[in-house]
Symmetry: C3
Subunit: 388 residues, 3 copies
């Protein structure tokens, strides 16, 4: 990967956006679920969210809920949140701890081991009688893997492994010096956004709107300063996309509300890196922001065609978090304000995209070349219906 000082973005042409129906049609949303969401690796959270065996959190895609749990052997397992008996949702709490690291259905107490989802108790039927064998009713597995301290899911049990799909380690090598594996979770905030999931991602994929709706962000990384574009020699197929670096304003020592630095920067950074925030994306649903003293990221989860959940995370160096008086609120307030500004913009885009005048879609200007890449990714997986 090459870092090009002051390089310009590769976009040079005007392109169309996706047609309006991609943001409003139930039919296209159902095809996206099938072709994208239930067949790709999704970033579910951080390993240290699940500290002890039995700790779990849920992740939701439309009608589907997955349990992500630290299993009794201290690894991470994931399962469809559906009892094999009568189909009850096993667990409704967004996060918590399963007693004895086992998942017990609240209805008839069918109980599953968290390691491989084996049914270990079914109080209403004896094992091996009446043609019933517990072995026939394990929880439906969801693929789970970890990388860099991040936990990943894939609803497709036969999907290729995470590393191959993401093109690791090459795609992520640039970020190794941030010591991702060791980072600790400082804060998680979940947002409900009244917009299609792609509107949320397209918003993240360009910062031409930043000077118009993000006063805090624009003070910190002014759009007038040079961008540092990361150029890649990676195959087009990889969904891990690099973006570039935005330079901090001279009076800012940190990417936050007031520019005052409160934490030591990551050990491996150059002087240039220490004045830059780098952005990276993983299709279909992740934004990373690598600041000199923290890492911010979020993942985008579709609940419905026009309703999306965003889980945002702030990660810090463990040595900093161990210090007495550690306080990450400057970074949290900075992105929380920026996020909320974005969600309001996304809501307005969703409303306007319902217009008959938006059926053919809108226009992407050259500086929105990353949005155009994302458009092509979506169209390749979910081509327009024939009768479109």
């Amino acid at each position: 990967m090459r870092l090009i000082e002051g390089g310009s973005p590769p976009g040079t042409t005007v392109e169309p956006t996706l047609p309006g129906a991609y943001y409003t049609s139930e039919g296209i949303f159902r095809r996206e679920l099938e072709r994208i969401w239930f067949d790709t690796w999704l970033l579910a959270g951080r390993s240290d969210e699940l500290a002890a065996p039995g700790d779990f959190f849920l992740r939701t895609v439309a009608d589907e809920s997955a349990i992500v749990v630290r299993n009794r052997e201290d690894g991470i397992s994931a399962f469809y949140n559906v009892c094999r008996h009568r189909g009850a949702r096993l667990c409704s709490e967004a996060s918590g701890t399963f007693k004895s690291a086992a998942v017990r259905c609240p209805y008839h107490s069918w109980t599953y081991d968290t390691l491989r989802g084996a049914l270990i108790a079914a109080p209403n039927v004896p094992d091996g009688e009446h043609g019933f064998s517990r072995a026939d009713f394990p929880l439906h597995p969801v693929r789970a893997e970890a990388w860099g301290g991040f936990l990943w899911l894939n609803f497709n049990a036969d999907a290729p492994g995470l590393a191959a799909a993401l093109g690791l380690p090459e795609t992520a090598a640039f970020y190794d010096r941030y010591g991702l594996d060791a980072l600790k979770l400082g804060k998680r905030i979940s947002y409900d956004v009244q917009a299609n999931w792609k509107i949320v991602m397209e918003n993240a994929l360009e910062c031409l709107h930043c000077s118009h709706i993000h006063p805090e962000l624009s003070r910190c990384t002014p759009p007038t300063l040079p961008r540092h574009w990361l150029h890649e020699d990676l195959p087009e197929s990889f969904v891990f996309k690099h973006s570039g670096g935005m330079e901090m304003a001279p009076e800012f020592e940190a990417v936050n509300i007031d520019g005052r630095s409160r934490r030591a920067r990551f050990p491996g950074l150059t002087e240039g890196d220490a004045r830059t925030i780098y952005y990276a994306f993983i299709y279909p649903h992740v934004l990373f922001g690598f600041a000199p003293d923290y890492v911010f990221f979020f993942s985008v989860w579709p609940l419905g065609v026009a309703e999306t959940q965003v889980h945002a995370y702030w990660l810090f160096h463990p040595a900093e978090m161990a210090k007495p008086g550690f306080d990450g609120s400057d970074a949290i307030a900075f992105w929380d304000a920026t996020n909320r500004q974005d969600w309001e913009a996304c809501r307005l885009v969703q409303q306007g995209n319902r217009s008959q005048m938006y059926r053919p879609g809108g226009v992407l200007v050259p500086s929105e070349w990353r949005v155009n890449k994302f458009r092509r990714y979506v169209l390749e997986l979910v081509p327009p219906p024939a009768a479109f």
Copy 2:
């Protein structure tokens, strides 16, 4: 009918549940309305809810509302809650009294007799002029019949009579000694349940979940005590289904919160009956519980594919209710707590049944044989669509 002490349930095999679509598909719900709900006898309430001519209550099935009213000849009539003029809902209150025992539309005051629904006033058009005759515009009738003090409806005007459909009097003979006709309404509570109506019925049709979610019920009728199964020689076609008796714990004198008896038991009961609660079901939507000193029942009404209304009733002996200081709150609190525990379980089942993993459905263990009978009843009336 034979009462078998300590008999075991007839279920011996593992069976499938209904496929997931039966709990989530609008299309299947529409077919259920047509094939089941608008073509079967439904238990609407108690005769003494409608004490005087003009007293009415409403019952709702999806978009359909029925008015059940004590007519001017002191009988019970029922009508579609739709004015023949411009189609206004005639009545919005859940219950009340019609002045002069006539139904007056709030829009243009078309007024209908409650006996046969005849249009008796249409102030905006003279009778017999301009080709208009009041005789052409009676209310659309809903069949209404009474049995045992219970009021029944059938939206199909050509349906066979209630007694034949329910197999009366044979099917109900076991319960004659509870003096059903004379019982008085002590309390009615209506619940909204966020689940398909069949999930609510399937929940009522088995008590294997009781020890897991019903602490009050399990203390009173512990699952460890023997069941008394009622075996029948009735044709399969009858929808009045007997279940069996559950014995009270030795320290309980009543089926209630604290086990303390507050009312004389029904006169005709044996010593065994006085320590037993019997359950019976009428397909598609009624549960009865015959306790020694009261009768509890509820009926289940679909408002939408995943939204159901339950009307629960507590009936007592008139001699008991006439006593000063009569108090039924022990029985009411007992079932109200149990009901709410069940509705929460139903809500979780509805959520989980939306999963793609539940498309083929779940499993019924042998002890859920009554749920399996109910499944076969549903499948016979609403077979799976061809393209399923």
Copy 3:
């Protein structure tokens, strides 16, 4: 136009209403949008609502939002409320003022001139480079015209002009003496009605319900007094429909709550007019009421198949409004009460129209001949589907 004292309405036959599906079907609603709402002149408001360049209000038809704005040349323009860039809704406030009389998108600050919607700034792309020309991206226009101080919209850019469509000036000549152009807005109230838009119009098109649900209105213009029917020699095609005059009760000096007159009557009225309120309708969505000392009107806007917005206006003579102590609250309270009574009736009709018993529809009595005219208008533009 002839004014016939004590004339009787032309209706002499019983007719059917529209079938139930016209009030409940999404499919028919979609066809109405296409055939009626996006191809007809709609009364959006009053000219003096938009006093200065940049003043705007929004009007909504289902998923479509229009901006109506006083442009920088002091005329009225209207545009689809959709940015040409990424499709964001440009404006969410129901009314307000655009700075510099230009519409700026809140997302990337694309900015449009209010005169013809020209894109005058697109900060994220230089004009004339990369194949991008601002000239290609003006706002989509909505036709706007004014008549009598009323502002009108047509979503069809190729629609014939307002005057021809309404049959002006002949159709409105009777009302010229009310000095419509010069009237001033006294009050606007917007209502949400839980009913199909046609139920709201049909309610306005007959007053046979008035004696039953409008006590205030019936005290003021008692149904027992003679109607003055306005007979027309206008082509059937005109959507501007005259109705007639209702005479005030002897003890009433004004069409209001208490009958006490508070304002001078319009200069050009006869003694007879001064004791009469005249009604007129413009299909598909306007009711006018011409009282001796004010003009009331409302327009009906479909948000969904069973959800409608009504914008009601009270207009007064400018000389009256200029007087110290001017107070229009007597007229406002009178119609506000009447409106709310009507919306409740409409809600009940919507509920009842969902019944399977209302599939063939109801009946229109002879005195509902105006509702029947409206029915024929709807059926001509939106015939029943073939498979109906």
